[in-house]
Structures are given as C-alpha cells and as structure tokens.
C-alpha cells in the first residue's frame, strides 16, 4: 500500500518535473513494481531477501541513471529486508534513515519525511499484523472451547437422565428380588400348607391341625426371615466397605467402556464406616468426572492404601488430563467431605487426571 503511494508520488514528481530520463524512469518503475509484486508471492526467506536486494540495487541504479527521487523507495525496501533478519526495530530504522547523508540537499527534507512516514506505516502494519494473528488464534481457541462445552452440557444432560432411570430400575429390581427371595417363598409355602389343611379339615382334623401348625410355623419363619434380612442389611461395616466399593466399580465397568481396576493394600479394617462413606462418595464422584471430562481415557485405576496414619484413595485415569482446571462443584464437594474427616483432596491433572483423597486414621 505505502509502496503504491510512494510510486505514485514519484511518478507525479517525475512527470511534473518533465525529467529528461523519462523513459528510463518508467522502465525502472515498472521493473520495481513487477519485482515487488513477485516478492509477495514468494515464501522462502533467502529468496525474498534476494529479490529485495535486487530491488534495492535497481533503486540505486535508477537513482543514478534516471532520477535521484528514486531514493525515496529505499527506506521501505531496507525495512522489509531488515525485518526478515532481525526482530529489533531500531537497527532497520537507523539503516532506513542513513541514506540521508549521501543524497542531495534538496531531497533531504523530502527523504526524511518519506522515511519517517514509511517507518511509521511499516511499524504499525507489523504491530497490527501480530495483533491480528494473536486475535485469530484466540478466536480459534474460544471456538473450540465453546464447542467442547456445548458438547459437555449435552452429555451431562443425557447422563443425568440415564442415571436417574438406572437408579429407579435398580431399586425396583432390588426390592422385587428381596420380596421374591425371602417373603415370596415363605408365603407360597404357607399357602400350600393352608390349602391342604382346608381340604383335610373335614377328613382328618388332626392332620389339618398339623398342617395349619406347619403353615403358622412357615409364616413365623418368614416373618423372622424378613426381620433377619432387615437386620442383615446392616452387616459388619468393614466388610461392606471395600465390597461396596467393588460393587460401585463393577457397576461402573459394566455401564461404561472403561477398564476400571480396584487395588488395595494395607490393613483395610482400620478404616471406619464414616471414612468408607467419604471414600465411596468421592470415588463415585471421581468416576463420574472421568466420564464427563476424560472422554479419551481407556483405563481407570482405583487404589486404596492404608498407611501408618492415614488412608489414601487414588482414582486415576489415563486421559489427556488438564494443566489447569476450574474447581467445579464436584471437586469442592469431595474437598468438603474429606475436610469433615480432617482429610485432604489432591487433584492433579499433569499426568492423566488423578483425584487423591487422604484421610487420617482415627484409632492411632
């Protein structure tokens, strides 16, 4: 752009001055224009430099041969040339202005003006270009993030619906199973006995009485059974702790296409029921997070270690991780639960994504 203006200015001066070497001048100008158009099509630094050098030489020849006014084209070429090789701004500026000492006095003022104009335009252009590139990159990044977020929201939605449905289904299954297993058998048995007793009532009173007694016994047993099952629902907590964790993980593996492995080490019995509660909730939360955020992970390792004075539970996936992440409600919830037991949560995304819960053991 600034080149065009410069060329235009030179042509005008040239024509007005009716310079003697008009033909030469026009030739040089055309040469210069074609050269500089070619430069814009080139990519390699060396070749561009070469062309620029040629362009500078032509300018110099034109200066001598046709008209000194051609020197006005120098600063821009020099700036372009320097820009290819150095990042500093001062050096090109000094170079660009330096010809001032070699040229005729009438031209000095114009040359300085043109040089400063060129430098200004050039610097701003460079500056704007850098800014433009940066903005472009940022825009790209934001677009990507936006897309990802939208996708995430969508997935969350489906996931929520799905899990609500799953929960209901599971609950129904569990209850029907229980009824079928415990109470169903007893009642069916009692019913059969009572039916028989009704038939026998008039035939053999004693037998009927015996059958009825049986039925009563079975029903009693059934009731006892129900009582027992209800009681059994709160079995020894330590046993259930690691087993329930296993269950949670088995269910997770069944539902999702991720290889999930539970390992544990140390004296598991030292972990009390409240701590298991926190561990189970945190593990579930961490697994859910993996589903949500680490789409491309294939493996999840859940590792429970009972150390001397604390228990450590680590849920770690082999996904992309995250250098920096914003704490969501999930992580804050884990932290709060752990803090209530005097523990800590370490969330690390540098190598895959891992959530580590540390809980102090109370007995010591």
């Amino acid at each position: 752009m600034s080149k065009l203006i410069l060329i235009f200015f030179i042509m005008l001066t040239f024509l007005y001055a009716a310079a003697p070497n008009l033909a030469w001048g026009i030739l040089f100008l055309l040469l210069y224009i074609s050269l500089n158009i070619t430069i814009h099509l080139l990519k390699q630094r060396y070749i561009v430099s070469l062309f620029l050098l040629v362009s500078v030489t032509i300018t110099l020849i034109a200066c001598v041969q046709a008209n000194p006014i051609f020197i006005l084209l120098m600063p821009l070429s020099i700036l372009e040339l320097c820009q290819l090789w150095t990042k500093k701004t001062i050096i090109p500026i000094v170079f660009a202005i330096s010809p001032v000492f070699y040229i005729q006095q009438e031209l000095q003022a114009v040359f300085l003006l043109v040089a400063i104009y060129t430098i200004t335009i050039f610097t701003f252009e460079k500056y704007n270009e850098q800014k433009h590139v940066k903005n472009e990159q940022q825009l790209d990044w934001m677009r990507n993030t936006n897309q990802k977020l939208i996708k995430q929201i969508h997935e969350n939605d489906t996931y929520l619906k799905q899990s609500a449905y799953m929960f209901r289904l599971e609950e129904r299954n569990r209850i029907s199973q229980q009824i079928h297993d415990d109470v169903g058998h007893a009642i069916t048995g009692a019913l059969i006995q009572m039916e028989a007793s009704k038939r026998m009532l008039h035939v053999d009173k004693e037998k009927a009485e015996e059958l009825l007694q049986n039925a009563i016994g079975i029903t009693q047993e059934g009731i006892e059974h129900i009582r027992l099952t209800l009681k059994n629902m709160k079995p020894s907590t330590e046993q259930v702790g690691i087993n329930r964790l296993k269950l949670i993980i088995d269910e997770f593996t069944a539902k999702h296409d991720k290889q999930t492995i539970l390992t544990y080490d140390g004296d598991i019995d030292q972990v009390n029921a409240f701590q298991w509660e926190v561990i189970q909730k945190n593990t579930t939360e961490a697994l859910t997070n993996t589903m949500k955020y680490a789409e491309n992970s294939t493996q999840i390792a859940v590792n429970v270690i009972v150390l001397n004075k604390l228990v450590k539970v680590e849920v770690k996936d082999n996904g992309a991780g995250a250098e920096r992440f914003e704490k969501g409600l999930g992580i804050i919830g884990m932290e709060e639960r752990s803090a209530s037991m005097g523990g800590q949560v370490i969330v690390d995304g540098t190598n895959g994504f891992s959530v580590t819960t540390l809980l102090p053991l109370q007995s010591n």
């Binding site: 701004t89 001062i90 500026i93 000492f101 006095q105 000095q108 003022a109 300085l112 003006l113 400063i116 430098i119 200004t120 610097t123 500056y127």
Partner: protein, 377 residues
C-alpha cells in the same frame, strides 16, 4: 529521606550506564556539529556566516505621526545597513494585503496611538528581528518623549546620541552573533534531546520489574509514592545534568548563542525534561509489556522532533504540515527560545512552561493512578 536515597540510586544507575549517557550527551553534540555545518545551505541558502534576517527583508511602512518621522528615519537608516529595507507604502495599496501576498516581509503602521507591525511569518527569525528592533526603537522613542517633557534641555544630547544608536546591537544581534545554523541547531538539538528523557523514563519502573528488584522495593517499609517520587526526582536530576552539559558544550565549543535570559532558558528546559519524563513514565504504565512503549515513544519523539524543526527549520507551512508543526510540543518550545534569545520577547515563555507542566501533570496523574491500582510496582 527514602525519596532521596532512591533518587540517588537512580542517578548512580544512569551515570554507570555509559551507553545512555553517551547517547544523551554525545548524540546531540554530534548532530549539532553535523547538521550545523552540513545543513547550512538548507538553512539559509548562503554562506556560513551569512545572517538570515538581513538579506532580503522589505518592510512597508506608513506614518501619520509627524514628530516621530525624524527619529524613525534615523532608525530605518540604521537598519538599512543591516539589510532591512524600509519602503513607504504607496498610496492606494493595502499594507496587510501586500504582506499576505508575500510582496513584503512586514508592514508597519505608525500613528498617534503607537505602532502596529504585521509580519508575514510570525515564527521566522527575520520576523523576530524586525519585531525586536522595533520594540527597541519604541522604547528609545518613549524615552525621548519622556525626557522632552521633563528636561527639554537634555533632549538634544539624547537625540544626537540616538542617531548613532545601533538598534540591532541592543538586541545583541551583532552580525557575528546572529543565529547561524550552529546557533539554531544548538537550541533545537537541546530541546530535542530533552524530550529523549522519555526513553529512560519509560524504563524507570519496568526495569525494576525485569530485574526483580521491584519486589525488594515493595517489601521494604516504604510507600509506593516514595519510590515513585524518588525515581522521578532522580531521573529529572540526571537528565538536567545531561542537558546542562550539552548546553555548556555548545556554548564553549560551538559558541552557540543562548541569549541573556539563561535562567528562563533553564526553566523551559527543566519543565520540558519533566514533561518528557512524565510522558515516558505514563506510557510505561499504559502498556502491559515493557517493550511496547518504546516504538510509540520513538515515533512520537521522531515526529515531534521532525515537525518541531529539530532537523531543519520548518518555515512557512500550511495544511497538514502546519497542523503537525503546531501539534509538536517542540515548536512552541523552540519558538519560545528563539523569541527570547533573539527578540528579547518573553511572551512565549509562559505558554511554553505552562504546556510543559500541563502535559506533565496529565501523565503524572495517570501514572500515580495506575501505580496505586496495581499489585506490586
């Protein structure tokens, strides 16, 4: 106390930074030398010791105040020697128009109420010379009239004495002291390099950050404002010393003429330094990265220098050039200097100082605001 300690440290930094020191002192001196000798031609199109004002000056005049005619003739005759030609305005022509059409350099109209001078170009040095000479003449004439009222017998001596009077000498415009290119460049280079104080000022705070010493300063039991003031004062001090050296050098080695009001010259330069420093500081707060302000400062300085006449005098200008010239703070700075030195005219001194301090205030207020809001230095 803390302020002084920090200021003193700042002075030490600058004195040990040989490159900057050389730049601030040697650069203007070398430029004075180069431009002062090489560009004499562009300056006045003539010889080296040729004067500017006294070549082709034509002053049209009109006088309706009879008593003054005799002394005025004497005055014009004196100036004729120096190359200023007085011509009576021919009837039917308008003096002002003539001046505007460039037929004459000035038009002088004298009547009972006093003298009015129309200059073709207020800013040119020639104009200043005429203006100054005339002012001197009017003073002289007033003296005569006063004497004639109070002691008529002494009038004669004064009148005879005054015919020999060298009006230009009054203005210290002896031929060898007229603003040669060296005098011109001594002034414009000095005012230009004073603006360059902005560069080091832009580094004042950012350098502490990049050296991490900002942290040390921030944890010391001192206030941010003390750090700020200390740095400001230190920077002003060192730049003032540099400028003083440049001025002294130009006087001693180039015999540059700085006029008689050295105090006022110093004041203008000092306020200009303050302005430059405030500008640099302000910009360093405006940009996030420490390097960003540099190109901006360089461009502003270069343009200001260029249009302010630092490289060659910008005489008549119109359109965009005139606008740019007027925007450049150096224009006012230099005009004030020239008017003061060569025309004994102090009218531009106050505006120049006011402009300097005004701009300083603007940037300083901005800087303090920015500083108080940011964490750390």
């Amino acid at each position: 106390m803390n302020i002084l300690k920090i200021a003193w440290k700042e002075v030490k930094h600058d004195f040990r930074d040989i490159r900057t020191l050389v730049f601030m002192i040697a650069f203007p001196i070398v430029l004075m030398l180069i431009l002062g000798t090489a560009l004499t031609g562009a300056f006045d199109g003539g010889d080296f010791d040729d004067n500017i004002a006294l070549d082709d000056m034509t002053v049209l005049y009109e006088n309706s105040n009879e008593p003054i005619q005799q002394p005025f003739d004497a005055f014009t005759k004196e100036l004729e020697k120096s190359g200023i030609h007085f011509e009576r305005l021919s009837k039917g022509t308008n003096g002002k128009d003539q001046v505007e059409e460039n037929q004459a350099d000035a038009y002088l109209s004298i009547d009972e109420d006093g003298a009015k001078l129309y200059l073709n170009d207020q800013n040119s040095i020639g104009g200043s010379v005429i203006q100054g000479s005339l002012a001197s003449f009017v003073d002289q004439y007033n003296l005569i009239t006063e004497i004639s009222k109070a002691a008529p017998e002494k009038l004669d001596t004064v009148l005879t004495a005054s015919t020999d009077h060298d009006y230009i000498k009054d203005q210290t415009l002896l031929p060898d002291q007229q603003p040669g290119s060296m005098d011109y460049y001594a002034i414009v280079m000095t005012t230009m390099i004073a603006l360059y104080a902005a560069i080091s000022a832009a580094h004042l705070i950012t350098q502490e950050r990049s050296r991490h010493t900002a942290d040390r300063l921030m944890i010391a039991p001192i206030k941010k404002s003390e750090i700020f003031m200390g740095k400001l004062i230190g920077s002003i001090a060192i730049n003032t010393v540099c400028i003083a050296l440049v001025v002294a050098f130009s006087i001693i080695f180039f015999h540059a003429n700085w006029g008689e009001h050295l105090g006022l010259v110093a004041l203008i330069l000092l306020t200009e330094i303050i302005m430059a420093i405030s500008f640099g500081l302000g910009l360093s707060f405006l940009f996030k990265t420490p390097t960003a302000p540099m190109p901006v400062i360089m461009i502003v300085l270069q343009l200001a220098a260029f249009f302010g006449g630092a490289y060659f005098p910008i005489g008549d200008a119109d359109g965009l050039l005139k606008l740019m010239t007027n925007i450049s703070p150096l224009t006012l700075e230099n005009d004030a200097m020239f008017q003061m030195i060569y025309a004994n005219d102090l009218s531009l001194v106050i505006p120049a100082i006011a402009m300097n301090l005004g701009i300083s205030l603007l940037f300083l207020v901005f800087s303090t605001f920015a500083l108080s809001r940011r964490e750390g230095l």
